[in-house]
């Protein structure tokens, strides 16, 4: 089994999902499946000005790197890309990208799913909501469901 190509970035600027996907697949004939996940800033009520993502520089990259290693060891991946933004992000904008490529679809699906579950619960990022009405910004509370989701992989 060849080693997966891992790309990992924690950055303020936006990313181009299509460019990242192409760089994992273009000209490759050993990739049968790509699963790309994009997480967006939601605002269903129309009350959000922006999300502000605080992160722990250094530890964020380190933790995501550890997760990528775990995923590569568990599934036969050919490539793995994780990009997580920080700073202020407007409704509708992209927050996070995970792409997993593999010979087979099941590995690509599971690795991307696994990475998103653990990114949520172990990568040091914190979201703060700034409302349009100028009220005090408030920290997003972690969901018990996210911890539950990671338990699916502990078997």
């Amino acid at each position: 089994m060849s080693q997966a190509t891992v790309t990992l970035r924690v950055q303020e600027q936006d990313f181009d999902q299509a460019v990242e996907l192409a760089s994992l697949t273009a000209g490759k004939t050993n990739v049968g499946a790509a699963v790309a996940f994009v997480g967006y800033c939601r605002d269903e009520e129309g009350t959000l000005n922006c999300l502000e993502l605080e992160h722990f520089p250094g530890m964020a990259e380190k933790q995501i790197g550890t997760l990528c290693k775990k995923a590569s060891a568990r599934w036969p991946l050919s490539g793995l890309t994780v990009i997580h933004r920080h700073g202020k992000i407007k409704p509708g904008e992209q927050i996070v990208l995970v792409i997993a490529t593999s010979r087979h679809r099941r590995a690509a699906f599971e690795a991307a799913d696994f990475l998103m579950d653990y990114l949520k619960t172990s990568a040091p990022f914190w979201k703060k909501e700034h409302k349009k009405d100028g009220s005090n910004p408030s920290w997003v509370v972690a969901k018990a469901q996210d911890d539950q989701d990671t338990l699916r992989w502990e078997k």
């Binding site: 993502l53 605080e54 722990f56 997003v140």
Partner: protein, 88 residues
């Protein structure tokens, strides 16, 4: 005998409640674990006491690795305290 020096970092609402992002302290005698450091800090000031009022919700990283509250600080140069993460 003087204690060892350790850097402490705070994130998200812990940072806001404590009013600083980081500080370097000399580990007092008898403070050997992350939990003991939380207790000691909480006793020094109302801001810390407020930040750490529910110790069970506080997450801890030692030298940028997740750790439990009873983890030893002996070989550690940086402790970070933060709320449960909400990235992704």
């Amino acid at each position: 005998m003087s204690g060892k020096s350790i850097k402490i970092r705070y994130f998200a609402w812990l940072r806001e409640r404590i009013g600083k992002a980081e500080e370097t302290i000399t580990l007092p005698q008898g403070v050997a674990t992350a939990a003991q450091l939380i207790s000691w800090l909480s006793a020094t000031d109302e801001g810390y006491a407020y930040a750490f009022e529910e110790p069970d919700t506080i997450r801890i990283a030692l030298d940028q690795e997740h750790a439990e509250a009873d983890a030893a600080l002996a070989d550690i140069s940086e402790v970070a305290f933060f709320p449960p993460m909400t990235g992704g």
